[in-house]
């Protein structure tokens, strides 16, 4: 049951082998028992979840089930869900009960999925280890002394530990793919604009994208098919017809050209990660794919460009947290300005403040052209690199992260070291292309390694097909951490 795919669960529900209430109880029990050691869920509301499960059972009974009806899905605490505490990992939203549903939450509810609970995350999704959460760090289910990656570390950990069959995360610079890699699960960041950002707390609006996290590529396809689609309430939502993202799962992949960017296999890549990724690439070669040596020369500049653009957009987006309309307000203050300054000083954590200061600086008078505009131009160069490479290959493969999960506390004192960890994940969102991570083995410390696939715009179905083919001949995605069986 714990390793069952979403379609197997749906089938068991359809055949009345179990009810959604039973399935939801099973995962709620596991969540309550295993969360003490993981801190991966920040809010569980069994009453609310079970009420949704009862509705799903009714719907199944009426023969009106859709693929996700009755299936519990955990939500990163960045998504507004009406009546649920939505903290975004921050003290400043510690009392924020969302008065409306995010678009993806609406979509999941319409599909009949059950909201299993809200998962822990880096504060405002700013981090690569889930250690900046106001609600304490999340432990990696594979090694409790290691981080789960971030910022969707809670969502990755609940899928890895089998506390939930699937989860939603968000990816701005790698926040779905990097924790998926470090926890041994699958995670997809869709093409920018494919999934509506309405009701998803904004971090860097030109990069933020919601993405599914699950055990397999086939599960990701089901989730993405449910959440993707046009929404007029997000001005960057693309007007495209809905898609069945599972349509290419059975397509043959022989003859496909896999580009291997040399910049993703150079200095800085840990030898154990390199070995696992190369073994996965060799497996694809056995499946009939062709390997192409390619170059993404601007890769090194993607980290500095990202750490100008993302903080700049964050400093604007986070201006709305002022203690006047919702969320935390400082208990004592002298006047309005003092109320703002104390509320924000007390409500935001250290990493969020650092990024607000960086963003304020690069947007300030006299520095805008030198930093913000220059970073936007470098962003264009990065996107042009990809356009060039996709002339010669169908998909790009490489590592998701330079190392396996590092120890809790190892990088918190040195923000630059933490940022450099994002080197392989920031290029895709800067270009706006889809990218996904799937488990492809283990490193020297027995921690999972992720293989990253990057495709051209709107190539999600083909990429999921490629990932699925690999998962038919390997079982990395079915391995479970000790203590979670």
């Amino acid at each position: 049951m714990l390793n069952a795919s979403l379609s197997e669960l749906a089938q068991a529900l359809a055949l009345k082998q179990l009810s959604s209430v039973e399935l939801t109880r099973l995962f709620l029990d596991r969540a309550q028992r295993l969360n003490r050691g993981l801190n991966a869920f920040v809010t569980l509301d069994p009453e609310a979840s079970l009420a949704q499960a009862r509705l799903a059972d009714q719907r199944i009974g009426e023969g009106a089930a859709q693929p996700l009806t009755g299936i519990p899905v955990a939500l990163k605490d960045i998504f507004c869900a009406k009546g649920w505490l939505t903290t975004c990992g921050s003290k400043i939203l510690s009392n924020f009960i969302a008065p409306y549903d995010a678009h993806v939450v609406e979509r999941l509810r319409d599909a009949g999925a059950v909201n299993l609970g809200k998962t822990n995350m880096d504060e405002f999704a700013m981090g690569s280890s889930t250690e900046s959460s106001h609600y304490g760090p999340v432990a990696n289910p594979w090694d409790r002394s290691a981080v789960p990656g971030g910022s969707s570390g809670g969502s990755a950990a609940v899928v890895a530990g089998r506390l939930a069959p699937a989860a939603l995360g968000t990816d701005t610079g790698g926040s779905v793919r990097q924790p998926a890699a470090m926890c041994g699960v699958c995670g997809l960041k869709p093409t920018y604009g494919v999934v509506s950002r309405y009701g998803m707390v904004a971090f860097a609006s030109s990069l933020d994208q919601c993405g599914p996290m699950a055990k397999s590529a086939a599960d990701l396809a089901l989730l993405l098919s449910a959440i993707a689609g046009f929404d007029a309430r997000d001005s960057t939502s693309l007007e495209r017809p809905g898609e069945d993202y599972g349509r290419d799962l059975e397509h043959p992949i022989d003859g496909l050209r896999i580009g291997l960017p040399r910049e993703f296999f150079g200095a800085g890549l840990a030898p154990d990660v390199a070995r696992a990724v190369q073994a996965a690439v060799a497996e694809y070669e056995k499946l009939g794919c062709k390997l192409v040596d390619v170059s993404l020369p601007q890769t090194r500049l993607s980290v500095p460009a990202y750490y100008v653009l993302a903080p700049a957009e964050a400093s604007s987006n986070l201006a709305r947290f002022d203690g006047a309309r919702y969320g935390y307000r400082a208990p004592r203050y002298d006047d309005l300005r003092d109320m703002y300054e104390k509320t924000r000083a007390q409500g935001f954590g250290a990493e969020v403040k650092r990024r607000i200061l960086i963003g304020t600086y690069v947007l300030s008078h006299g520095y805008y052209d030198a930093y913000y505009l220059q970073a936007q131009k470098v962003r264009r160069l990065i996107a042009m690199d990809f356009a060039d490479v996709f002339q010669r290959c169908d998909v790009i493969m490489g590592p998701t992260a330079p190392t396996t999960a590092f120890k809790l506390g190892a990088k918190t004192a040195d923000p630059v070291q933490m940022y450099l960890n994002d080197i392989y994940t920031v290029p895709a969102p800067l270009a706006g292309i889809p990218a996904l991570s799937i488990p492809c083995g283990f490193g020297d410390d027995n921690l999972p390694v992720g293989l990253q696939l990057m495709g051209n715009y709107f190539q999600e179905a083909r990429m999921l097909g490629l990932a699925h083919r690999y998962q038919l001949v390997t079982d990395w995605h079915l391995r479970m951490p000790v203590g979670c069986e």
């Binding site: 001005s235 960057t236 650092r354 200061l357």
Partner: protein, 95 residues
């Protein structure tokens, strides 16, 4: 370009973040290290390159000018730190 303590204080003021001297000193050291990384961008030749602000280069959609929102102020103000008679309460700004 080396950031100064005054720069940090000025940014904190602009961003409405109260910051004491110890915090400012700490954050200055971190920001200098981060800007050493960011400054790598300065060496890139970007003459003639169009800045990229959106992945799809999409323009904002226009819609008909009509009211589409329902009045939900009671619901939204029910989670406000202080609200009264449909208004958000903040310290007095005009004497």
């Amino acid at each position: 370009m080396l950031l100064s303590l005054d720069d940090v204080r000025r940014m904190a003021q602009l961003a409405r973040l109260q910051i004491n001297d110890t915090e400012a000193e700490q954050v200055l050291a971190q920001l200098r290290a981060i800007f050493a990384l960011i400054d790598e961008l300065q060496a890139v030749d970007t003459r003639g390159v169009e800045p990229m602000s959106h992945a799809q280069g999409a323009a904002l959609r226009l819609r008909e000018d009509r009211v589409t929102e329902l009045d939900q102020h009671e619901l939204f103000q029910s989670i406000a730190p202080q609200a009264e008679a449909g208004l958000y309460l903040v310290p007095k700004v005009i004497e």
